[in-house]
Amino acid sequence: MIGTTPQPELTSTDDWSDALTVFDGRVAILITDADDLATLLAQCSLGNRRAFETLYRTVAPRLHSVALRCMGRSDLAQDVVQESFVRIWHNASRYEAHVSAPLTWMITITRNLAIDQLRKHRELPLSDLQQDALADESPSAHEQLDSARAASALGHCLERLEGMQRQSITIAYFQGLSASELAHTLDAPLGSVKSWIRRGMERLRRCLES
């Protein structure tokens, strides 16, 4: 991260520091720190399988939550998690510690794989999957999320977005819809959708970096 504010929520919150869990009689190392994840990635790039397993045990539930949010179906989400870790293993040497936090790098891999899959699915005729995924973006789903993020910096910054800005950014991020697909889904002009996303993104970033 260059010049960005640190994101303590991302690396040291309780929601994934519970990683101290017993697997097959072995105790996985408690990983809460971005430095530790970066170290594990560095060891993976040297071919250290044990480090890779520790990384997997620590991060997989987090990546799974992202994949599930995108795909909306657990079998597809599991495929995305599997593919993500294969990528992480083979690309660990390309991780640039000075550019992004390790978890950001891994979540981005998962999210990109997930929306690639969704885009492929969307090339097919309208499917149940698409219907389900889009149904997930109903206002009630947002309301549930909102209560969970109430105290975080992101929550604060998301609150400052207009409704359509927030909704179009969220759909674009988790569903990978193009601007024209978004316009169709939201029944809004293409220009409006683009401007919601771009202005929303700028406002979000200024808020987070202030």
């Binding site: 260059i2 599930l68 998690v81 550019v99 950001t104 193009s178 993104m201």
Partner: protein
């Protein structure tokens, strides 16, 4: 498209990060990313912020078969194992060990005593007189049709650099067959292209340090 102004780069990185770009623009942007660390950093800032959208998500336990599948993917050789694996593995291992041994042995021999350069020296009538093989620290001399040398005379071998005076490499052994040891400076000398020449000298070699008698044989020293 102009990728140069900071505002433009920031906006394009934002479009890419959120997924607003059409496929062709996306590919072009990914191509730019390869060589542009600053653009990667700009993109990473957007990704860092967008990752926060995933923060409220509740961690989901992953079934164990996913890990097994990952392991199978990164170690595909543990799958599709032939039934006679131990035998074939030993055979393969044995073959690898043998070839390694051969390569090592050959390498040692080669390094220790390899012919690095070779020259066939011709007489004035283009008859091959003798062959010289240059090893690391000596020359091997093999007579082909070497004229007999009268008593009281010696054949002296010279190296003649492209630009420079002949340098004595030593006397050809009396029977024309044998070795001429090379000093460090002589070894240096024949690493660059030189012409070898044999001159007829008084017994014991040229008294002046330069050829005094007629050149009987000569030829270029060539890398093998």
């Amino acid at each position: 498209m102009n990728y140069q102004t900071p505002e433009r780069r920031r906006a394009l990185a934002a479009d890419y990060a959120i997924g607003l770009m059409p496929p062709t623009a996306r590919k072009r942007f990914e191509h730019l990313l390869l060589d542009d660390g600053a653009l990667r950093a700009e993109l990473a800032r957007w990704q860092n912020h967008l990752t926060l959208l995933t923060e409220p998500l509740v961690e989901q336990p992953v079934p164990e078969h996913v890990w097994q599948a990952v392991v199978a993917r990164i170690e595909p050789q543990t799958l599709h194992v032939p039934l006679k694996r131990p035998f074939w593995n030993w055979l393969r291992l044995g073959a690898v060990a043998c070839s390694l041994l051969i390569v090592l042995t050959a390498g040692l021999l080669y390094n220790r005593d390899s012919v690095q350069y070779q020259a066939t020296l011709l007489s004035g009538t283009a008859q091959p007189g003798l062959r010289i093989e240059a090893h690391a620290d000596y020359l091997k001399v093999r007579p082909l049709e070497l004229s007999a040398v009268e008593a009281g005379r010696s054949l002296e071998l010279w190296a003649i650099p492209v630009e420079g005076k002949p340098v004595s490499l030593g006397l050809i052994p009396a029977d024309g067959d044998g070795r001429i040891a090379l000093s460090q400076s002589q070894q240096q000398l024949i690493r660059v292209p030189v012409v070898l020449a044999v001159s007829l000298e008084p017994q014991g070699g040229s008294p002046t340090g330069q050829p005094t008698g007629p050149v009987l044989y000569q030829g270029p020293l060539a890398t093998l």
